[in-house]
Amino acid sequence: MISSAVIFSALELGFIYALVALALFLSFRVLNIADMTTDGSFTLGCAVSAVVAVAGHPILALPAAMLAGAAAGCVTALLQTKLNVPSILAGIITNTGLYTVNLAVMGFSSNVSMMRTKTLFTMTQDSLGSVYKLIPVMVLTAVLAVLLVVFLKTRLGLSIRATGDNPDMVRASSINTGFTITVGLGVSNALTALSGAVLAQYQKSADINLGNGMVIIGLASLIIGETLMPKGKLWMKALGAVAGSVVYRFIMALALRLDLPSECLKLISAVIVAVAIGLPAIKKAWKPAAKGGVKAC
């Protein structure tokens, strides 16, 4: 029923999108900020990667995309920390602006085709055989996941975690929250853009709409990962984000197998996220009733 091609593509996409899940782990879970820049910076990563790859530098395309994403994250952070724009709105503002920026990067065209372009994957095609796509994305995601976990144990990383974990504590300590939020969102959006950059080369095209709904897809992956992994250590959470992304892609593959129209997938993702985030509240509301107590008012 499910061919090996489907399994491979689910794994490949899972590892590529895992970078978004890791990015949201940093912004949403660690910093406690729902970063709406995600959609825009994903597309930005696609666009930068495609343009640089077309110019003949598929490897350089990846750090270039990361830098662009980091810049986008910093804009959101500055809006938030310097101009006191509420965090969600700050992300939406950047995201809206990025639409134009992304079109501009692609030369005011809504897509860039890379059919004959040398990409990361055409470079590995000869040496790696049938896993020429899977191995590079696996290695890339694994390296970045490890780097992220190590980073979060450094002085700067611990400061970023404390910023999200206990604002009261941070206010009384020597942590400049403006700085930690800026670094956090910068790193997070660099990861998101890298995901977009790899995806563009993977599917040999960039499109202005590729990032639509990415924040929800990333959150869904992250939350699936959290239910899979026991609560605990940092590296387990990072592993959970990667696993969740892979599982999400398998769910999508399965849904497509069941002839669900692909237009439905975003609704499914939205429901997964809404239910998963709302679960604690739902449980709380049910508890008094379950105990047989009468709920006040």
Partner: protein, 264 residues
């Protein structure tokens, strides 16, 4: 060491809610001074700490620490040198991070020379363990537990340890035992005494408990309506009793219906 000259702060100036929180405060601390601060609610004790720690900009006056003018230094830059503990034990530690990570954060932040990407070493970790063992709360065996699982007293003791992990120039204790049960409060207070004495830390402590205000440290000041109204040290302080101090408060009609001193 710490020097405050003519420090004043008015909140909401020019409105009906205008509140003169600090009025011409002069205070000078010598290295190693341990000053206890008494005063009813709204006397300006916590505002004084806010001014020293940089939570807001003062209207007039200068604040200097170790000869360096810090009046306009933002709070996060001051707190490299100034440790601060609050009444609420939840305010000083990050609940989602482990005991070790909380200590690592305090340690790495206070040692300013290190790079932003520095991490704690195995030797640091052993040091954390030894220091935790000194608290005698068994925390040394729970270093990888999230702090959110600890009790209020344990968290406050940990906060204290974090504040002095790298000896600060100044330690501000804002009723840091008031929210704890009596036995735990006693424990944290004796820990405070021990740690401050062993490390020769210059310290200011707000308390509502007159006996401990008189027994701890070497100086006591008393605040009312944003001013320092009484200073005790040396022999005068040694001869002071709770009853006499309470009498002085009443004579100065300092205490009112909001009085919250405990004479136990």
């Amino acid at each position: 060491m710490l020097k405050l000259q003519n420090v004043s702060k008015t909140f909401n100036p020019g409105t009906v809610n205008e509140k003169k929180a600090l009025e011409g405060i002069d205070l000078q601390l010598a290295p190693g001074d341990f000053v206890t601060i008494l005063g009813s609610n709204g006397a300006g004790k916590s505002t004084l700490f806010g001014a020293i720690a940089g939570s807001f900009v003062v209207d007039t006056g200068t604040i200097s620490l170790d000869g360096k003018n810090i009046t306009n230094l933002p709070d996060y830059k001051r707190s490299v040198y100034i440790g601060r503990l609050f009444q609420d034990p939840l305010k000083g530690t990050a609940p989602g991070m482990t005991i070790e990570e909380n200590l690592a954060l305090a340690y790495l932040r206070a040692s300013k020379k290190r790079s932003p990407f520095s991490m704690v070493t195995a030797a640091d970790r052993r040091d954390f363990r030894e220091r935790l063992a000194m608290l005698e709360l068994g925390l040394e065996d729970r270093m990888d537990h999230p702090v959110g699982l600890l009790s209020g007293g344990q968290r406050q003791a940990l906060t204290l340890l974090m504040a002095i992990l790298v000896t600060p120039k100044l330690l501000l204790l804002d009723e840091h035992t008031a929210a704890l049960d009596p036995a735990t409060a006693e424990k944290v207070l004796s820990l405070t005494k021990k740690i401050v004495a062993e490390n020769h830390i210059t310290c200011l402590m707000i308390t509502h408990n007159i006996p401990s205000a008189l027994s701890l440290g070497n100086r006591t000041i008393m605040m009312n309506s944003g001013k320092i109204v009484l200073e005790l040290q040396g022999e005068e302080r040694a001869n002071m009793t709770t009853e006499r101090l309470l009498k002085i408060f009443h004579e100065q009609s300092i205490s009112n219906d909001r009085i919250l001193f405990s004479a136990e």
